[in-house]
C-alpha cells in the first residue's frame, strides 16, 4: 500500500505530513458483532494501524475518554446508543476524531444523514477488505493534511456547488440538468490517481450510491458517492484522462457526468456548501 505522502496542494510542507503519517492513526472499531471488530482489528493491524475494537457504544465512549482515537469505524446498529447518537456525541466532544460509519446496503438514506451530521464517510456492509482500507486510508491522509495545513477543507467553495460529504459535488444547470464531479479534497486524499472509472450514459446514479471509482496508482479503488440521483446523459471523458495534474488539483475542477436529476429540490436539501470535516 502507498504510505508515501500523496500529491496534495499543501505540497510545500511534505515533511510535516510525512512526520505525521509516520505515526499510524489510532483506530477504534465499534460494532456489536465480534466477528466484524475481530476482522477489522486483524486486517487493519496487519496494515500497520493501531486498532482496538469494542461491541458497545458506552464502552466506546469510555475508550474515547481515556485515549481518543484518530479514526472511529462505527456500525449503524448498536445496542444501547445508536450509531447516529454516538456519531453526534463524538462530533461534539471529540471533533478531531474522524468518523467512518458502517451501514447496511440500501441504507442510503441513513448514510446521507450521517454525512450531513459530519461523518467523514461511510462503508456499506458487506464490504471487502479493500473497501474498508480505502476509506481508512483517505481518513488517515485527511488527518495528516489537516495537521499539516489548517486550511484543508476550506477550499474556495463555489456558490453553485453543493457537496455530499467530502466526495462529490453537484451543480444545477439552467436547463434542468445537473453536473456532478469529485471534490478536490477527495482527489487529494486518494493520492496519485491512476484513472477514474465513470458510469456510462443512460446509467442511473443514486444519491449516496456510487458515482465513480478513483483508482490510485497503487491500484487501490476509492469510491466516490454521488451527490444526486438521476440518469446520466453525458460523460466527461476528458476527466478520465487526467493523471498527474501540475497544479496539485488531481481532477482539475472539471465535472465528470451530466445528469437529468430525479428529485433535484429535495435532494439538494441533503447537500452542503461547506465541506464537512
Amino acid at each position: 500500500m502507498n504510505r508515501k505522502p500523496c500529491a496534495a496542494r499543501s505540497g510545500g510542507l511534505p515533511v510535516t505530513i510525512e512526520q505525521i503519517m509516520a505515526e499510524q492513526p489510532k483506530i477504534l472499531v465499534v460494532d456489536d458483532e465480534a466477528v466484524i471488530t475481530g476482522a477489522a482489528e486483524k486486517i487493519l493491524r496487519a496494515e500497520g494501524f493501531r486498532v482496538r475494537g469494542t461491541a458497545d457504544a458506552e464502552m466506546a465512549l469510555t475508550m474515547f475518554r481515556v485515549d481518543p482515537p484518530d479514526i472511529a469505524l462505527v456500525d449503524l446498529m448498536l445496542p444501547g446508543l445508536s450509531g447516529l447518537e454516538l456519531l453526534n456525541i463524538v462530533r461534539r466532544e471529540y471533533p478531531q476524531t474522524v468518523v467512518i460509519m458502517m451501514t447496511g446496503y440500501s441504507m442510503l438514506d441513513n448514510a446521507i444523514v450521517f454525512l450531513k451530521c459530519g461523518a467523514f464517510d461511510f462503508i456499506p456492509k458487506p464490504f471487502t477488505f479493500e473497501e474498508m482500507l480505502s476509506a481508512v486510508q483517505r481518513a488517515g491522509r485527511f488527518i495528516a493534511l489537516r495537521a499539516a495545513d489548517r486550511r484543508v477543507g476550506s477550499e474556495a467553495a463555489s456558490p453553485h456547488r453543493y457537496q455530499l460529504g467530502i466526495s462529490s459535488w453537484a451543480k444545477a444547470d439552467q436547463d434542468g440538468t445537473a453536473l456532478l464531479g469529485i471534490t478536490n479534497l477527495f482527489g487529494q486524499l486518494v493520492g496519485r490517481i491512476s484513472r477514474v472509472e465513470l458510469p456510462s450514459v443512460n446509467d442511473e446514479v443514486r444519491q449516496g450510491g456510487p458515482l465513480a471509482q478513483v483508482v490510485a496508482q497503487d491500484e487501490m479503488r476509492h469510491t466516490a458517492w454521488s451527490a444526486l440521483s438521476g440518469r446520466i446523459i453525458a460523460v466527461n471523458h476528458f476527466a478520465q484522462e487526467i493523471r498527474e495534474p501540475p497544479n496539485g488539483d488531481p481532477l482539475g475542477d472539471s465535472w465528470l457526468v451530466r445528469i437529468i436529476p430525479d428529485n433535484l429540490e429535495s435532494e439538494m436539501m441533503n447537500l452542503s456548501i461547506e465541506r464537512s470535516r
Binding site: G104, Y105, K125, P126, F129, S229
Partner: protein, 510 residues
Amino acid sequence: MQFKISYKIIATVGGVTMAIIGIFAYLNLKAQKDQIIAELKRSANQIIETVKSSTKYDMLKNQTDVLYHTINTIGSQKGIEKVRIFNKEGKIIFSTDAADIGKMLDKKEEACYACHAADQPLQRLPPNSETTRFLPPSAPVTLGIIDPIYNEPSCWQSDCHWHSPNQEVLGVLDLTMSLAEVNSVMRTSQMRVLIFAIIAIATVSLMIYLLINSIVLKPVSQMVAATQHVAAGDLSYTVSLKKRDELGELAKSFNAMTRQLSEAQRQLYHSDKLASVGRLAAGVAHEINNPLTAVLTYSSYLHKRLTDRPEMKEDLEVIVRETKRCREIVKGLLDFARQSTPEKRPSDVNEIVRRAARILQNQFALHHIELEQNLPPNLPPVSADTSQMQQVLVNLFMNADDAIGEKGGRITVTTAAASADITKGNSLSSAHQYVQIKVSDTGCGIPPGNVSKIFEPFFTTKGQKGNGLGLAMVWGIIEKHDGGITVESELGKGTTFNILLPVDDNKAKA
C-alpha cells in the same frame, strides 16, 4: 323465510280481494233483492187492485158467496199466502185461511202501530204511507200489504144499506205474499257469490304464489345461495340471473361487488405479501450483512496477501466473487424491500416512456427488437415519481425483451387517456381519471397457470438470470402510485401489460 313472504302477500291480497268481492256482492245482492221486492210489491198491488176491482160489484150487490169465491180463486194463485179482509175494528171478516176468520187483530202490533198511533180507527191513509210489512221482521218469510177500502157513495147508496155514509173506511184488504221464492233466489245468488269469491281468492292466491315464486323467491334463494358461497370465502362465485328487473340489478351489482371484493382481496393479499417479504428481506439482509462482511473482508484480505500460492489465490478469488454476488442479491432484496415512497409530481407519461425506451435502445437493436411507440400528444399529466415509473417501464421492456428472445420481434407501447369504464375488473376508484400505458410484446407469452403468479416476489422463470423481484417491484410501485396493473397473455402469441396511473388531481380540477 320464503314462506313468510309469500304468505304475507297472499294473506294481504286475499284479504283485500275478499273485502272487495264482499262489498261488491253485498251491494249487488241488495240491489237485486230491492228489485225483486219492488217487483213483488208491484205485483201485490196489482193483485190487490184485481181483487178490489173484481169484487167491487159483488160487494155492492152484497153477494158474499160470489165475493168469497172470487177472492179464494185469486188467493189460490202461486205466491199468495192469504187474502184477508178486516172490518174497521180489526176483526177478520174473511180470510182465504178459514182458521183466521172471526179473529181480532191487535192494533198495537208493531205492523199496525205506524198507522194506528192514537189507538183510533184511521180515517184515511196519508199519501205515500208504507202499506207493506215483512213478517217476522228479523227473517221475513212473508210480505204483507194492506189496502184500506174507502167508503164511496155507491156503497152507502146501495140497496143493502149496510154502510152508513159517515164511515170513511169500511174495512181493510190484507194480502200476504210468500217470500219463499224471493228468499230462494237470494240464497242462490248468495251461494253463487260465495263460490265466485272462493274461486277468485284461490285463483288470485295461486297466481300470486306462482308469480312470487318465479319472480321473487327463486332469484332470492339464488342470491341467498350466492351470499352463502361468498360468506364461505368463494369470491369467484357469480349469480347467473338474467332478469331485467330489480332483482336482476341486484344480482348484477352483487356480482360486481364480489368481483371488486375479490380483486381488493387479491391486492390486499399481494400487498401483504410484498410487505412481509420486504420485512423478511430487510431482517434477513441485516442479519446476513455481518457474516457476509466477515467472509468478504477475510477472503479479500487473504486473496491480497497470498501472492505466493497461486492455486489458493484462485480459490479465494472464487470465494470473493461469490460473496460479492451474495452482496448483490442482498442489495437487490433490500432495494425491493425499501421501495421508497414515491415523490409524486405532475409528470408526462410519454416522456417517461421515451426515457425508458432510450435506456434500452441499444439492447433492443442488438436483439432485433422493433419498438413501436404510440404516444399521442396532449395526455393529461399523471401524478407519478418519474424515476420509479421509468424503472417500471424498463422492467417491463426488459421482460418483453426476454420473452421475445433471440428470434427478434416487436414491442408496442401505447399511451392513452383511459375511458371511465376502464376501472371495471380492478379495484380502482371510478371517480378518478386515469392514463393508460400498454406494453405489448410478440414474445413467448405466459402459461395460463403462471399469469396469477408473475407479480409474486421470487417467482421467476428465468432461472439464474432473474431474482424474481422485477415484476413484484413493478407491482409495488404501481400500487404506491394508486394505480393498477393487469396482464393478458396468450402462449406463443405474446403478452400485454396494462398500467393505469391516476391523473394529477390539481390538473384534473383546473
